[in-house]
């Protein structure tokens, strides 16, 4: 990364702070690079670690006033060792208690799962599944019925039109009525076609997604209980 790239990245990261603060910070670091000296770009970047680190420090500084937060020293061994420090509970008589309470808790959880989770959970799951499936079937059937009515509409419309046009010469009034009805039927057919397309385009996939989501939730839970 070059100095320019570093400063540009920093500027981008500071977009969400007030312009005045951003400009002041960028001005500071521009000067910082310059004062470090020619050809020391890479070393400065290494010392600053990353634009992200610098931006984070700036934003943290804006949040707190003269607060009591502490600054991590670079490579402080103290923080790294905290996890391996001996914990007081391991000394002497305290040792047994934590084991017992965790044992009881596990037993309690197992009981809960066995006596409540399974007898109630499984029927509930099955019901939910059945409902989801039937919703899908309903939507599908709705689509089918709409399709049938639509087809009927188109068919009737065409028939009316044909008959109407045929009679046009002989009986114009009646013929016109037939034609009109034909157009109405066609219009209804077209509207139903649109409805059908919506149902198939949105309704069915939505139901399908709902079922897949259900499956995922269940398998997640099952996996979690096993682990």
């Amino acid at each position: 990364m070059t100095k320019q790239e570093f400063l540009e990245k920093l500027a981008a990261l500071l977009q969400d702070i007030p312009a005045e603060e951003r400009e002041a910070a960028l001005e500071f670091y521009r000067g910082y690079f310059d004062d470090a000296g020619e050809g020391r770009e890479a070393e400065v970047i290494r010392e600053l670690e990353s634009p992200e680190k610098v931006a984070e420090q700036i934003k943290n500084g804006l949040k707190t006033g003269l607060g009591t937060d502490s600054y991590e020293n670079a490579g402080s061994p103290y923080d790294k060792n905290t996890s391996s420090r001996p914990v007081p509970e391991n000394y002497g008589s305290y040792e047994k208690q934590p084991k017992k309470s965790s044992g009881w808790r596990t037993f309690g959880i197992v009981c809960l799962v066995l006596f409540i989770g399974i007898p109630i959970g499984i029927p509930v799951l099955v019901t939910v599944f059945a409902l989801a499936l039937s919703a899908l079937v309903c939507v599908a059937l709705l689509a089918v019925s709409v399709a049938m009515v639509m087809a009927a509409g188109f068919f009737a419309g065409i028939v009316f039109l044909v008959v109407g046009v045929a009679r046009l010469a002989l009986a114009p009034g009646v013929a016109l009525m037939f034609c009109g009805s034909g157009f109405i039927c066609l219009a209804v057919g077209i509207l139903l076609l649109l409805l059908l397309m919506w149902v198939i385009g949105r309704g069915v996939p939505a139901c399908w997604r709902g079922i897949k989501w259900l499956c995922r939730k269940i398998f997640h839970r099952r996996g979690g209980a096993r682990a």
Binding site: A25, E49, T64, T68, D69, N73, A74, S76, P77, Y78
Partner: protein
Amino acid sequence: MVFNTGAALLDAIVLAVVSEEKEGTYGYKITQEVRAVLDVSESTLYPVLRRLLKDGCLEVYDMEYGGRNRRYYKITESGRRQLNLYITEWKEYSERITSIFTGRKKP
């Protein structure tokens, strides 16, 4: 470095470093001098300087150097008072800790 440096202590050190120069110093130099004393990350210093500036402990002025404007930080009267406060506090604090370390009965 084993002990974390609190915000107040860092402020005190920065003030002390800046106060050493009668005419003030610039950001990069301040950072290097603080780093000679404390093992803090370079990116830590700017927010401290900015805060001290906002609190009136430091003031800035620009001076030309090498064809560009260099921003210098200088300690103010109020900054000096704050620094003296910190120094007094530190003396007491460090003495208390030293006494508990050295006055300890051997096991």
